[in-house]
């Protein structure tokens, strides 16, 4: 099971902040992004979101494994 976190406009579009996806083998971040949208529908702007696995920024080609938490981070606007 991979835990996905959505924030700001992405959570608003998906109408949820948390999604879980069953995975049988390690997948890339990009594949997870595809599976997420199969489940909740297309998310506009997600291609511009940074991605964090277990609270660290990663690349789209990095692997995600069972138990990981994947966060899609739209352009930040703190401060």
């Amino acid at each position: 099971m991979v835990h996905i976190l959505l924030f700001a406009g992405l959570a608003q579009q998906a109408k949820t902040e948390k999604v879980t996806i069953d995975v049988n083998s390690p997948l890339s971040v990009e594949e997870i992004r595809g599976l997420l949208q199969n489940q909740v529908g297309p998310l506009k702007g997600i291609e511009h979101a940074l991605v964090a696995v277990n609270e660290e920024y990663v690349e789209l080609t990095d692997q995600v494994k069972d138990g990981d938490t994947v966060a899609f981070i739209p352009p930040v606007s703190g401060g």
Binding site: L5, F7, A8, G9, Q12, Q13, K44, G45, E47, H48, A52, E55, Y57, A71, I73, P74, P75, V76, S77, G78, G79
Partner: protein
């Protein structure tokens, strides 16, 4: 209180400052970000901030570590508020102490610029005529539709 802190409560500036004062500090530079009413011709009623809290605190800490590399004797403390904020409320307070003043000025500026790049915090503007999630304020990220989500242009 944590030195790198995301909080739902109003920020006490002095609490942030107190964390960086020590006997070899000769200067403390404090940056305070507050909620602005007018952005161009748009009038803000109030703001809502949300954060990926555990990661945001880690990223704030990372900024403190970056500052320590660039200005080796700098001590940094940052508190960022989330939730609903009214006009003139304090959204973020940064305090940096250094032996000499120039480094304190430079490092506090560096901290606020980095917050706008790497810390997972988002601001939703509630204007008098609608609402929108604000994108990257440095303008380095494009939106595919040419504007933030949830705003019809």
């Amino acid at each position: 209180m944590k030195r790198f802190n995301i909080t739902n409560e109003p920020i006490n500036n002095q609490d942030v400052i107190d964390q960086v004062i020590h006997h070899n500090a000769g200067a403390v530079s404090v940056f305070i970000g507050t909620v602005r009413e007018m952005t161009g011709d748009k009038q803000t009623k109030f703001l809502h901030y949300e954060a990926y809290v555990p990661m945001a605190e880690k990223q704030l800490q990372k900024i403190g570590e970056e500052i320590l590399v660039k200005w080796p004797k700098a001590i940094t403390a940052i508190s960022h508020r989330i939730g609903t904020l009214q006009i003139s409320d304090v959204a973020v307070t940064i305090a940096v102490s250094t032996p000499h003043r120039q480094d304190a000025f430079d490092a506090s500026r560096y901290a606020i610029e980095r917050i706008k790049e790497i810390v997972p915090i988002w601001k939703k503007e509630h204007y008098t005529d609608g609402e929108e999630w604000v994108g990257n304020q440095k303008g380095t990220e494009a939106y595919p539709a040419g504007h933030p989500e949830g705003v019809e242009k």
